[in-house]
């Protein structure tokens, strides 16, 4: 007759997994939103140096990327181990930079051109000779705003 029946049978009740898909979807959407698909596949090694006095590049559409470094292992047989420049998806020569910049400028609206920045993503093991050549070419086409892309961190990390 008692209304409060003692629950019969022990054992821990199973944890409901009904909300698991929701949680997973939440994570999924997060990663889908933050993922930026790489515009071009890297063909050079690109371990960026560290620096701590960095500024952020905010307008991503106004950035032109120049990669440089040693060709990554699959390409070493063909291109050697000497540091090279990569523009878009191809290895390039120093003299191709001017055409590349011109191309990038043409693909942008005219009023955006003065604000274009060139981001140099250069492997930390590269020699300055190549970078000086790049800079010289950039000066020739009057693309004077540059940014040495770095990771954030203490500079001592560079020498480990």
């Amino acid at each position: 007759m008692s209304k409060f029946k003692k629950k019969s049978g022990g054992g821990t009740p199973g944890i409901s997994t009904a909300s698991l898909p929701d949680i997973v979807f939440m994570l999924l959407f997060f990663f889908m939103v933050v993922t930026v698909m790489r515009e071009n596949t890297l063909m050079v090694e690109n371990k960026l140096p560290t620096a701590n006095q960095v500024e952020k590049l905010d307008k991503k559409t106004l950035v032109m990327y120049i990669y440089a470094g040693k060709p990554s292992p699959p390409y070493q047989a063909k291109f050697g181990t000497e540091a090279r420049i990569q523009l878009n998806d191809k290895f390039a020569d120093v003299k191709d930079i001017q055409a590349f910049i011109q191309n990038e400028r043409d693909s942008r609206r005219e009023e955006e051109v003065p604000f274009l920045t060139t981001a140099l993503k250069v492997d930390s093991e590269t020699n300055m000779g190549l970078i000086s050549d790049i800079k010289q070419e950039l000066r020739e086409v009057n693309a004077l705003k540059i940014n040495y892309t770095t990771r954030e961190g203490d500079i001592q990390l560079n020498f480990q």
Partner: protein
């Protein structure tokens, strides 16, 4: 005909599908680094004229092919460079019209007159490594930033770094024009005068 109820779709495998997608995106995500040291290259000037500058207003920083640092022809460790640059910029050795009333340096007459005149000339070899170059650039920018921070604290009681951050932040609620004016004042006190020569081939140095 009797109305048949639609069979329920089994959603048990939804979690698995979602997991699969999740793992795909986890693997492909690369958090892009888009921060770095911004620099302005000097324009190519055909009618180049030599500007006469006093030798004492120039701090020559040379990185040789073995990544050694030579400041004014003396060997120096990287960790001492920041202080050396600060001492040089903040020296305030000028007299009369060239005096600098906010400098707190030693006032050495053989070093720079005032921060506006002081130029740091960075030279490197073609075989200098990029990481060393970036490290040196970083230290020199840090020297300027430290001096600007000091002046920002003194004049406005605010941190230069926060001011810069607020200025770049589109969501910041505050008087941007006033902030820009203040930033300009500080930047003009210690203008970044970093000259980069085209690298020379230096064998023995």
């Amino acid at each position: 005909m009797a109305k048949r109820s639609a069979p329920e779709v089994n959603a048990g495998s939804m979690a698995d599908i979602a997991f699969l997608l999740l793992i795909f995106f986890l693997v492909t995500t690369t958090i892009e680094t888009d921060s770095g040291i911004s620099r302005k290259l000097p324009p190519i000037d055909e009618t180049e004229q030599d500007i006469v500058m006093k030798q004492k207003n120039i701090l020559t920083v040379l990185i040789n092919k073995d990544d050694q640092l030579l400041v004014k022809d003396d060997l120096m460790e990287l960790k001492d460079l920041r202080q050396a640059a600060i001492d040089f910029l903040d020296n305030g050795g000028g007299v009369g019209e060239e005096a600098c009333d906010y400098c707190r340096g030693a006032g050495d007459p053989t070093s720079s007159d005032n921060p506006e005149k002081a130029v740091i000339s960075l030279q490197n070899d073609r075989s200098t490594s990029y990481k060393m170059y970036i490290a040196v650039q970083n230290e020199l920018v840090a020297a300027y930033n430290e001096l600007r921070e000091r002046e920002a604290q003194r004049l406005f009681g605010k941190s230069y770094y926060t001011m810069e951050k607020n200025f770049a932040d589109a969501n910041w609620r505050g008087n941007k024009e006033k902030l820009k004016e203040e930033l300009d004042i500080i930047k003009n006190m210690f203008p970044q005068k970093l000259s980069e020569a085209e690298p020379k081939k230096r064998g023995s140095l």
